[in-house]
Symmetry: D2
């Protein structure tokens, strides 16, 4: 491959921004060229580490991708959610392909306002639904698509975070469905995109923060597809057993199950219990490390105009529509029809 | 133990009646004394095999439990559902403890009409929710009750039959929730009795019989408890992998999972796949063989006035209330509050 | 089947004798007619429980199988090992088929002395190698025989008892190879009968009784077959994890593994460890309960002159030859050639 | 860490040399400075890729580590086995720490001839027993060392290569024990270093190359430790199920088992078989990828004079002594005492 690496402008240098910076640095197909963060120390640190240019101003970063001698080829948005819509707009107006962390926005109206422009300009916009690139989930999905279990009839997605976030975070999160389940909505659509109905139940079983801010800490969402398949998402904001991310795909001819990876392959047996395995990965950075790298490679293809499986702006919007429907369903006790 | 065996009058000699006859014969605490079935050849065959008296008339069987020299001590009702209410009534009026197959009836009005009499007379009535006695489910429930996983927050019950019943059966079954999910409603209550809300989704994914008769072949039910726990039931009328009966109990301190038993402990590895296990049991008679025997022993205790964990008439009614609520929820697209 | 049940004379009423008595009583094809034990209280107790005739004298029992109106059709020998040879001889001279507990004797000379008579008379003699009838081992062996893994090249038999026997027992046991490994030698021959060489290593890792009496508590035996397959037996006199009985059959096309059965299908996950299973069965009575019943049914066929897979006197002799060779190999540090 | 990276001179650019080159390049603590291979195209290719200096002459490479301005700090020997002894000698005489692939040599006499010099000079020499650094094996060994299963009494090492090497390779390999089992001997000593006796059985079950050259394709080795623990190594030159590398450590208080890693966490269930997992890794490059990286890091510590767990020249010699003993045992049919 004699192609030049894609030069990235990275906006946002928090935890997830740092993950992306490392992925970019590790890829032979990508290079980190600019880093922007209003918290300029963060930008400087990353820029120094990877030999990039730092700025406090994302606008400056995007501008560096324009003109006679552009210094970046694509933008990776890892800044706080409320900034996403404006940064996507500025990037695509500058002709720069975008990889944006989920969600696009907590407000579907803002997403829908941006939608025509994205469609019209045709500049690639990918959403950071990294789980699609997890080798385990991806293998199961490919095998379903290949017909290994016949027609898909049921999908069960179990998704539990290790511990509830602080109450302050809950307050601005948009609620469990827009903040946490959003990944599971996309995973549901990864297996069965044509969802027509949403039914959700949420409770406050343990988290004072959820109670304080009218959110749920425990939730189950049922999705119906146009073909009559039923998808079940089971969420909890905490999990004593570690990050719990499993999928069961049940079809007319068999069943595929995605288990949690284990820290290692050792099991222990004693008088009390046998064949006990070591703990699950602590959280998403460990569990989805390979997924972040694969996500980046797939976006590079998208940015180059090659065939790519990157989830798109439309996928980002669809997940938010499902989250809104789930929120309404859980609060009002009704099934909500959706047209994605 | 010097107690005399409980002498049973068995009503109904179909598949499940024969299972109970065999359990009675195998138990040192039970004996089969009378057998009734309008299909008198069936009654005669069982009676001859186990040394009992046969009749075509269940009334005669119940009468044999009265008078100066009663010949039976308890009634086991394994006849078709529409006969259950009348037979329970006749039995308790005769002072005979009853073990009745589920459901009590498909019509909650008939159940509620019988309810005061059962309560007033105080003659024991047990319902045939055999799965409570499965050693696997029972072990999980005991460990939850013992606090091994802290407070129960989520319960997932996966319950799939091997193959859809004939369309003729679907027509009179009362629908998937009253016919099949009823076992899962009871299992839900076995772990968390205090259910306050029901939400259900049903689809027709594959079964022409379900389509023809307005029933569902695929269903997911979400139950909420007063403590904020959420229970998810996943049903299918068919399963290419065999009878699929699993439970996941998720609590604040850990998780217990009940897997399907395997035909044996052999696994095979080849170039194509590794550690493959032999098929699951074909259906309930194999899977729940031990459960039927344990159910009978527990009912014997109930009939003797000893402490017993047999599910009761009230448990039978509660499962039906949940089934009715699920049916309404699935059809109307609303969450349905219940007071059990 | 309109055949009369085989009427058994049972000699020996210890633990294993009681297991066989229960199997006989539970089988529709067998009946317990006579019981003999010099400890006559034991004989009386069993006889009363199952409606048999008791005697202190095994000779009287065998005599009851002769004459114009014989009262037994077969003899089951569950008495102490030193009595086996004489009782087999008396039984076959009386024309009575024999099922004898292993080993035939601790002294190969005595076995070889009896051998011509058994061959000449042709009265069936079966050895109690019950593990052949375990559904797990039997399934693996049938699949190997069916060619599922191609040519068998390696077999690993792991066999560990829960706890070392008392030193007094060790003293008269004939040593670990004749007492414990004997079952594994037969299992080896169940998969690959044609063994040509034996190599054994024994140590005293933990048991004072083994040290005191010059026995081993830990042993590994390597067997070579004429086709170049290698069989490994791993033994321990104790196991903190419970009775440990596993087999791995490795062939040119794949691998079959027989795991330990679990008490139930529940697994538990916590922060410390995940997917932990409940303990293994405590000892052979639980683990091999089904095997004892199947062993009896197969012997009934043998006694009736039908096709039967019961291991024979020759199998019993072969296992002892291997045990002797292992003992010599472990003591002298040489590989020992055998001709079975 | 402000330390300078260790500058490596790599000798040998075959498959394993390339693995080490990649590990060096990926480590922040290592740099590839020189590459030597008589096949100079290989040296040039690697040197160009990683910015190193190439030579056909290993002597030149070692010389580059001496003088006023040394260009390398350590030597990594990945050339053919017959060159190892001379290259180790030259390196340690030059004062350069060495990481040498196993085995040191096929001839213990040559190893013993070098031994005093290595001991006298005290320049660190590490052996490439990479499996010690596999996270799975290492975790099990650490847990054994921490006393989790009490005293170690039995160790079973199953080690099967995917396919037999060509007959030409067999001819010069030194035989299965020196070529393949050598890794397992070191693994045995990783868990229990003090081995006193070796017993081995080898057969030719399938490989014409083994037959042709008097080698074995199937082998079992039994090792005895001074404490009476027994170690069993089970080898095959082929495995239809892929690279098979498992360990079972059995102790007085429990058991630890190291399973094969799986390609991913997906399992499939159908009517034919359930819970089947995807294939094992194909061979050592996949299975032990993490181990090679960890091995390098540990050697860097050794080269810097820090505490290190790298296996040493003595470990390399001990493995060869055990291999020689196994070869003699298998051929002569005797147990061979060893003093390591």
């Amino acid at each position: 491959m004699t192609q030049q690496p894609i030069r990235f402008g990275l906006i946002g240098t928090g935890r997830i921004g740092q993950v992306h910076a490392a992925s970019i640095a590790a890829s032979p197909n990508a290079a980190l060229a600019w880093v922007a963060d209003p918290f300029v120390d963060g930008a400087n640190a990353l820029a120094e580490r990877y030999g990039a240019t730092a700025t406090a101003d994302a606008t400056e970063l995007i501008a560096a991708g324009t003109g006679a001698a552009p210094q970046i080829d694509a933008v990776l948005i890892a800044s706080p959610t409320p900034t996403h819509v404006d940064l996507i707009e500025a990037s695509v107006r500058a002709g720069l392909p975008v990889l944006c962390e989920k969600p696009i926005d907590l407000d579907i109206a803002r997403v829908d306002a941006l939608r025509p422009l994205v469609a019209e300009l045709g500049v690639p916009v990918a959403l950071g639904f990294n789980r699609r690139f997890d080798p385990n989930h991806a293998s199961a999905r490919a095998r379903v698509a290949a017909g290994e279990i016949g027609a898909l009839e049921q999908l069960i997605i179990i998704s539990r975070d290790p511990a509830a976030p602080p109450a302050d975070y809950i307050a601005v999160s948009g609620g469990i469905f827009r903040d946490m389940t959003i990944h599971d909505f996309d995973m549901a659509r990864f297996f069965a995109p044509d969802i027509v109905s949403v039914s959700a139940t949420g409770t406050r079983a343990f988290d004072p923060g959820a109670r304080e801010h009218g959110d749920f800490d425990t939730a189950v969402v049922t999705l119906e597809t146009s073909a009559g398949a039923v998808i079940t998402i089971v969420n909890s904001r905490h999990s004593a057993v570690g990050y719990d991310q499993r999928i069961e795909a049940f079809g007319s001819g068999g069943m595929l199950q995605v288990g949690n990876p284990l820290s290692n392959t050792v099991s222990v047996s004693t008088a009390a219990a046998v064949e006990a395995r070591p703990a699950y990965p602590e959280f998403f950075l460990e569990r989805y490390a390979a997924a972040y790298a694969a996500e980046l490679e797939e976006f590079v293809k998208l940015a180059r105009g090659e065939a790519s499986t990157s989830p798109t702006f439309e996928d980002g919007r669809a997940a938010l529509v499902l989250a809104d429907a789930a929120q309404r369903s859980a609060v009002e006790g009704v099934a909500v029809a959706v047209a994605l």
